[in-house]
């Protein structure tokens, strides 16, 4: 059966066939035919954002909360350029999203037409792949291919630019099952010889550690399950990057907490002193490694990654394994079991005792005294009061993000949405909208700083319009906290433009949007205020006024090694040398 239809209808049909139920978007001249088709159907829900950047972050939040690709529909020119930050964010964090942009008609391309931009040119370096479709006959196959590319191998954002005349013209629709198999088929099975080598190393290691990342989450629930099985069976301690939180439960007995620049003392010390490091789906980011020539000097490093270019990029891998985490862990477990489930129990017990001495340092300790709320205290209370809920957490970027990673706990994957690689302020609010769309009945909280939150505050309109009860938990220190912290440590306490005057009254702001605002500036009222936020059936802006000059610790200063952490205010003087100061 051949089916003739317009390009615009094809878009909607292809999305339907790809199992898409939500699209985040914003209309404009060059996508009107597609919007006309969106109007005439009920299978796909369209969420009208207030800015195209918000649409992409919302799609990212949706993708990370579900494991399915997020879909965005925006217009040409400014619609496409506004999407660029979101695309780059998704590329850095390996989030599968499909962005459809309108384009001026093919016969006007290159004429500097109204709302024309070289969208594929601009987005080439910030997508995994992109297409300009000039022929309606090819449109449906390109869309199906785009979903394949976005989700296969290391996931990432893709973009399809569709000129308006292509949307109007008719051609035959090709369903997904009839699309010829793409040559893009990344390797998912790991090399058995390398896996066996890793098992042998694991059997004898005296001080092994798992260093896991976002690749475990991206690989799907099976990967997290296998990782848990492997950790429980071997008793090897495990730490994770910011991106990988939730793959192994925070309540698990072998959990060390997050590692890296603001990671936990025990996690970073274990990384520094280990003799076998098993990197599972992480990429030795500079936030993790600190000073490279002093990074875990005495360890054999195994690296499991689906992207061959991640291996040996920064750190030389002694045992490189290219493959999908779930596939590799499954084989790893099989081989380990078949060889008699051996580990060096005696050495592991000593290692565990050593780690316990690091744990006793209690690096996250803080003192809440008086009525001024410490941000750490605010998050400790948020954790205590929301832990029993079916909970999804998003964050913006900055100090609050690191505190959220330190003080909140995650028991399952896909529960934690934060901008890791790109560090995009303004990510969290739209991402919370995407997560709430995916899980309408769950408690979705965006832990924010007031400065980040203001970057995409217009999305409050989206939350109210679509009755998305997202909770905006703003730790308000009236500062760009992380910038201020670096200026204190690096620039002689000259706080150049890290202080925002004329902040809005967040309660009135909420009310202006038709939402609820709660303000809390007294530690004694905090619990009641948080419960009021949770119990309100609708979006809430929670303005939590916190201690203004609190710094985020522990901290590995830039240019330093894992065992040179700053633990608190007393240790900060002259901590960063000139060589460290050039790094970000």
């Amino acid at each position: 059966m051949t089916r003739q239809m317009t390009g615009a209808k094809m878009v909607v049909q292809a999305l339907r066939d790809q199992g898409v139920d939500v699209v985040f978007g914003y209309p404009g001249g060059a996508v009107l035919p597609i919007y006309d088709e969106v109007f005439q159907q009920n299978d796909i829900r369209h969420i009208l954002v207030r800015h195209e950047q918000g649409a992409v972050h919302a799609a990212e939040g949706y993708a990370r909360a579900t494991g399915k690709p997020g879909v965005v529909l925006v217009t040409s020119g400014p619609g496409a350029t506004n999407a660029v930050t979101g695309l780059t964010d998704a590329l850095m964090d390996s989030i599968p999203i499909v962005v459809l942009t309108g384009q001026v008609p093919t016969f006007m391309i290159g004429s500097d037409a109204f709302q024309e931009a070289d969208t594929v040119g601009i987005t080439r370096p910030c997508t995994k792949h992109n297409w300009l479709v000039k022929d309606t006959a090819k449109l449906s196959t390109v869309i199906h291919e785009a979903f394949h590319v976005a989700t296969a191998g290391r996931p990432g954002p893709v973009l399809i630019d569709i000129p308006k005349d292509v949307q109007f013209a008719s051609a035959e629709y090709t369903p997904p099952q009839k699309v010829r198999v793409s040559h893009y088929q990344p390797q998912v099975k790991g090399d058995m010889e390398a896996i066996t080598e890793l098992v042998a190393a694991l059997e004898t290691a005296k001080r092994p550690v798992f260093y896991t990342g976002g690749g475990v989450i991206n690989s799907g629930p099976a990967a997290s399950q296998l990782l848990r099985e492997l950790v429980e069976a071997t008793g090897i301690p495990i730490t994770s990057t910011l991106m990988g939180l939730g793959a192994y439960p925070a309540s698990g007995q072998h959990w060390l907490g997050m590692l890296g620049m603001h990671g936990l003392y025990e996690a970073n010390m274990a990384m520094h002193d280990c003799d076998l490091m098993i990197n599972v789906g992480a990429r030795f980011d500079d936030r993790i490694t600190g000073r490279l020539d002093a990074f875990s000097p005495g360890s054999v490093k195994a690296h499991i990654d689906i992207d061959p270019s991640s291996i040996n990029k920064v750190i030389k891998a002694d045992i490189p394994i290219v493959g999908d985490v779930a596939h590799v862990l499954e084989d790893l477990l099989k081989v380990w079991k078949s060889r008699g489930r051996k580990v060096n129990r005696e050495a592991l017990a000593k290692w565990s005792a050593k780690i316990d001495t690091w744990r006793k340092v209690d690096c996250l300790a803080f003192k809440q005294t008086g009525r001024v709320i410490k941000p750490q205290h605010a998050l400790t209370r948020l954790e205590a009061l929301t832990k029993k809920y079916d909970r999804y957490i998003c964050t913006e970027v900055g100090q609050h993000q690191m505190w959220a990673a330190q003080y909140l706990t995650f028991e399952d994957p896909n529960r934690w949405m934060t901008s890791g690689g790109l560090g995009t302020m303004g990510y969290g609010f739209p991402a919370s909208i995407g997560a709430q769309m995916a899980h309408p009945e769950s408690l979705v909280i965006n832990v924010a700083g007031e400065a980040s939150w203001l970057m995409n505050m217009q999305e409050m309109g989206t939350a109210v319009q679509f009755r998305l009860p997202v909770k905006q938990f703003i730790l308000n220190n009236e500062r760009l906290g992380m910038v201020r912290q670096w200026q204190e440590l690096l620039h002689g306490e000259r706080y150049s433009h890290s202080w925002s005057e004329a902040l809005p009254d967040f309660v009135k702001l909420a009310e202006a949007f038709g939402a609820k605002g709660i303000k809390c500036d007294d530690a004694a009222d905090l619990d009641d205020a948080i419960m009021e936020m949770i119990n309100h059936d609708g979006p809430v802006i929670f303005d939590c006024l916190v201690e203004k000059h609190e710094n985020c610790f522990p901290m590995i200063p830039s240019g330093k090694a894992h065992n040179e952490m700053l633990m608190g205010e007393a240790s900060t003087k002259d901590a960063i040398g000139s060589k460290g100061a050039v790094m970000v």
Binding site: V120, G121, R124, P125, K128, H129, L132, V149, G153, R154, H183, Y184, L292, D293, D307, P308, S309, I311, N312, K313, V314, K316, S578, K579, V582, M583
Partner: protein, 186 residues
């Protein structure tokens, strides 16, 4: 060296230079990249090089399979072994890239470049230019009373040598194709 570890005189002001390399020795490699001949594919490849701060010493591209719409891109690049490895794996993950061959590693390759040189002169210089062209097996493809256009094929080094000799004899213009390369044997 500065704190950024950028070597003096280097034109690579990239943050990637912050990384310690596993070996400091820079090598020249010839890569053959087989790609779908579709719009923008060359931009993807050269964008990768400029975006990540890699060198391109020579680049040639042409469609080699008109029915299958495949092009062959030959790139001569220099870098430490680690950078060369990165270039290859980064090229490999571009969606329309089908194959990446490191001809330098895969065995000695035949590498050839074609150049056209215009030499303007009269009298002895003109005779000498013609004589040298004969030694280098360059062909005259255009001639006027006071100019020649020579066509020469060979390794890049041979063309460099020929151009150096033509310089005092009135070399006015030169056009070079860049390297085309194939591995030897089967």
């Amino acid at each position: 060296m500065s704190a950024l570890q950028i070597k003096k005189g280097s034109n690579k002001h990239s943050a990637y230079n912050l990384r310690p390399t596993f070996s400091d020795v820079e090598e020249s490699h010839t890569l053959a990249v087989i790609v779908d001949n579709e719009a923008g594919v060359l931009a993807r490849v050269i964008g990768l090089f400029s975006g990540r701060g890699y060198n391109i010493d020579s680049l040639t591209v042409a469609e080699i399979d008109h029915e299958g719409h495949r092009s062959r891109i030959t790139i001569v690049t220099t870098g430490t072994p680690q950078v060369i490895e990165q270039i290859k794996t980064q090229l490999g993950r571009i969606v329309p890239v089908h194959e990446v061959h490191d001809l330098t590693v895969e065995g000695r390759a035949v590498e050839r470049e074609l150049a056209l040189l215009k030499v303007v002169g009269k009298g002895d210089k003109r005779v000498e230019a013609l004589r040298l062209a004969d030694i280098f097996r360059a062909n005259v493809v255009d001639s006027t009373l006071d100019s020649f256009v020579f066509e020469i094929t060979g390794t890049s080094a041979k063309i460099d040598a020929f151009a150096d000799l033509m310089h005092p004899l009135g070399l006015s213009d030169i056009a070079r194709t860049g390297v085309a390369a194939l591995s030897r044997g089967v």
